[in-house]
Symmetry: C2
Subunit: 203 residues, 2 copies
DNA sequence: GTGTACATGTAATCCGTTACATGATTCC
DNA sequence: GGAATCATGTAACGGATTACATGTACAC
């Protein structure tokens, strides 16, 4: 029984994300891509390390999905600008436009992980943590809105705009969620005694 | 200039998550831990592969944070049950109860990534994808509620309950977000023509 | 002239997954 | 007898990060 092997599009999502960045008009350096990922991609997906971006760009070029040229003496710095190729655009389209499952979203929420272990901490500490989280989330909300402002009114960026609006609402939900958890917590620590002095360990 | 090296608690979050599972009363096998992670941890953090769980258990034992014993002939199967040790509980408490930043939540949302690249797909395909996502999210909501039902009424599980309530609300928000995106999309594809026949590639 | 941002890359390492291998038990 | 579940592990690999190394351009 031969294993069904689909040789096409077995690239990691990161590769598609980087190629996606290149799919918008213009040529860009790895460095620019990283800044852009930090400012927008990261709110709904993730921003790869700069070394990772360079690595993906090399891979995409090896596959013929991207092409690069060194800037000559006409520009002050030596940099390498990448552009998507026809083959790259085709591959990306078939990835984005296919019918296969996008896959489940993946969430790692270190704050909730610690709340889950609330029996090991003091309620005050938990509250502090949540408030810190709220502060950060408010900062991120502002950043999302900045990104959105930069994309607004431009017909070319209509889909990135949708992704950013999703991100904005998501940040708002994150704040709401934190507040609700704070309330739950107040309720629970009212009913529970603070940290039982000593719990015997099994074993 | 000596680099400030903090030798304590440089374990990956996954290790703490597994130790956290052990911090609730009872001894457990790696297999049981995996099932539990699938049923609850995964909704706010993530469920490691089973091989990873075994690896973490071995590491925790090497560190003296967990202890295991093989079941003897009194039990049908040979299994290895783990329990947290005093040192393990102390380490976990200092991790959970410390003041350091919990770190930002990490989200990888493959669906939104594809919507972001909407200019490469047809609006109909995007809608299909979103509807698939909604269906999955509804399934997960149900699972969260099942987990919650299992923890309800038990004083011991009051913090895990809070994490699960957070997860329930989060799933509801996810559904809301998807619906809002669907609406945004309908608006955008009404205004935009379908896939421009050919875009010249730079380079 | 010093610090910051720009710009590109290599090396070491680790995190985590998939695939593989093995075997017992239970249910039908 | 065969399938599904319980149960534990190894090996190979790839994805991704951090730290390191290097150098240019620009602002103060």
């Amino acid at each position: 029984m031969p294993k069904k092997q689909d040789t096409r599009q077995q690239l990691p999502p990161t590769a598609w994300a980087v190629l996606g960045l290149l799919s918008f008009p213009g040529e860009r350096t790895g460095y620019e891509l990283k800044k852009w990922a930090d400012a927008s991609l990261r709110f709904f997906y993730w921003s790869p390390a700069i070394s990772q971006i360079y690595a993906e760009l090399r891979r995409l070029e090896a596959l013929g999905y991207a092409a690069s040229r060194r800037s000559g003496p006409e520009e002050p710095r030596t940099k390498r600008r990448y552009a998507i190729t026809g083959a790259g655009r085709q591959a990306l389209e078939s990835w984005a436009g296919g019918t296969e499952d996008s896959g489940p979203p993946m969430l790692k929420h270190p704050l909730v992980l610690r709340v889950w272990l609330g029996h090991l901490a003091s309620p005050a500490r938990l509250r502090e943590r949540i408030e810190l989280h709220v502060a950060r989330a408010e900062g991120e909300l502002k950043e999302v809105r900045d990104a959105l402002a930069g994309a607004e009114g431009n017909e070319e960026w209509s889909y990135p705009q949708i992704a950013l609006r999703w991100s904005e609402r998501r940040q708002l939900a994150e704040l709401e969620l934190a507040r609700a958890m704070l309330a739950d917590l107040a309720h629970a620590s009212g009913a529970t005694r603070q940290l039982p002095p000593d719990t015997p360990t099994p074993g």
